[in-house]
Amino acid sequence: MLAEADRFRLLQHHRLFPLIPLAVIIVVLPLLFPSAYYYRVAALVFIFAIAALGLNLLMGFAGQVSLGHAGFMGVGAYAVAIGPSRLGIAPLLAFALGAACSAVLAFVVGRPILRLKGHYLAVATLGFGVLLTIVFTNEAKWTGGPDGMPVQQIIIINWTVHRIGTWYWILAASFLLSAVIALNLIDSPTGRALRAIHDSERAARVLGIEVAQKKLAVFVISAVYASVAGSFFALINGYVTPDASSFLRSIELVAMVVLGGMGSIVGSVVGSAVLVILPQALTVFHEYEHAILGLTLMAVMIFLRRGIVPSLSAALGGTYK
């Protein structure tokens, strides 16, 4: 028989342990929501957390930056907009097709640009994101141009998903599933290889790791995460504009990852929560809203320099990731 304390320690070392507190919060939170508005904010947090999770796999674990990841969000968003309305594809199928398109696009684009490192990779991915925004803006026949286009509601077996409360549960489950997959990857041969690449590509190669292939794999995975987030974003808004893939959005995703904590799965949801909720909470300050937001971000990075979750965890003497 294991002692109670030993059993807890075993549980703590389980790769999915970090998700237990998150699952509890997800279940309890709706009991505290006074209005539909809160459901909507929480839904947005989950959506951006999915995108940030994917980007965290790329940045926090494999050490490769992307300043164009909102481009893949755009692909996912326009897939669920264009598919049903222009091509007559079922929304769920359009959702999957969007993810597949993002994967193929990431594969094709990733091969040449992932050879670049650091700032050069940053600028190349930035260019990619800008390029996609231009396509979404200019191909008005398909995308509605700068004004965007409406998105049909999703229908699952004759049941239209329109209540925000329903979306809350769908998005919470999708987020948890994304987090499980991310944690699975980290605790696997591929995950170890990716983390090794982050620290020394030379050593990784000498140990037999196909560095280019692994980088491409994680780039494709992170693109699919962003695409899924983009599709959800378009669906709960019922509308999509080229803003979904804008440069500012890409930066926002990077900020979520860094703020929450690079390499921290829980950090990704914390980072996205901060960047989704804070602007809403700060509207009371009217014209100073953005200044206060900027100051807050600076203060967090100065005082919690490894990101919110890793820094607080270290300060409390824990190893929570």
Partner: protein, 263 residues
């Protein structure tokens, strides 16, 4: 049988000839040392052999196969591993995980299995962890397994790199200055470790500045100077070679004396 051979290797960086027609043959299961003054081209030769540099001319043979300009990851899969003079530790990983990465070429789960954490992944993780623990125990770092690698002392990091390279199960192991920065006790430990590695039929190719270690342990010594081969032979022949003594004039000439004489 020849485990590793270099044939007329030449490489130049911006007009400077770092290596000029260097050839050697290392027989299987021996300690083959490459020595020479700073800038002689020892590390460059290692980089060429391990695939990190492509030579302008010449060939590299591993176990009788031409492996010239093969990528490092392909060479690793054929049984060549190395350590680095300036350590290349995965500092965000634990000590154990560093060595687990060294098992990568023996791991067989696919990306999809990894993402879904299929039972094969748990099984693979367990096998990898056990093999890595064994490699750590071998270099005396088992107690450090769960420590972040970045927190280890310098001497421990040196041994960690050797454990990680051994975890790949190489036939040929390149050690780039394993004793650099080590105190006499640590150096002695490294000597013992190298002997045990060779006892396992692994060919060790050693670049090292510590002459006492080199003279004690080498079956054969290859001397480089300014990118050229100066001499090759066993420890006694190298010690007696006038050209070698010339290249090591001054403080270093004492280092070439038999180990007993230095003590």
């Amino acid at each position: 049988m020849t485990a590793l051979a270099a044939e007329r290797i030449s490489i130049a960086f911006g007009g400077v000839r770092a290596l000029d027609g260097v050839s050697f043959e290392a027989a299987a299961g021996i300690v083959f040392s490459i020595i020479g003054p700073n800038g002689a081209g020892k590390t460059t030769l290692f980089n060429v052999i391990s695939g990190l540099c492509v030579p302008d001319d010449g060939r590299v043979w591993l176990g009788g196969e031409d492996v010239t300009a093969l990528a490092p990851e392909r060479l690793a899969r054929r049984g060549l591993s190395r350590t680095f003079q300036n350590l290349q530790i995965f500092s965000h990983l634990t000590t154990l995980e560093n060595v687990m990465v060294g098992r990568h070429r023996h791991e067989s789960t696919g990306l999809l299995a990894d993402l879904l954490h299929l039972p094969a992944v748990s099984w693979q993780n367990r096998i990898t962890r056990d093999a890595a623990l064994k490699a750590l125990a071998r270099v005396g770092l088992a107690a450090m397994a769960q420590r972040p690698a970045g927190s280890l002392a310098y001497g421990d990091l040196k041994r960690l790199e050797i454990a990680r390279a051994l975890a790949t199960e190489p036939t040929v192991l390149l050690l780039d200055e394993p004793a650099a920065g080590c105190n006499p006790t640590e150096t002695k430990n490294i000597e013992t470790m190298i002997r045990s590695i060779v006892a396992d039929d692994i060919t060790v190719v050693l670049v090292e500045h510590d002459m006492r270690l080199v003279m004690n342990i080498s079956d054969r010594i290859h001397v480089l100077a300014n990118g050229h081969t100066l001499a090759e032979g066993d420890a006694a022949a190298i010690r007696a070679n006038p050209a070698v003594i010339e290249a090591y004039l001054g403080a270093h000439s004492a280092a070439l004396e038999p180990a007993s004489a230095v003590r």
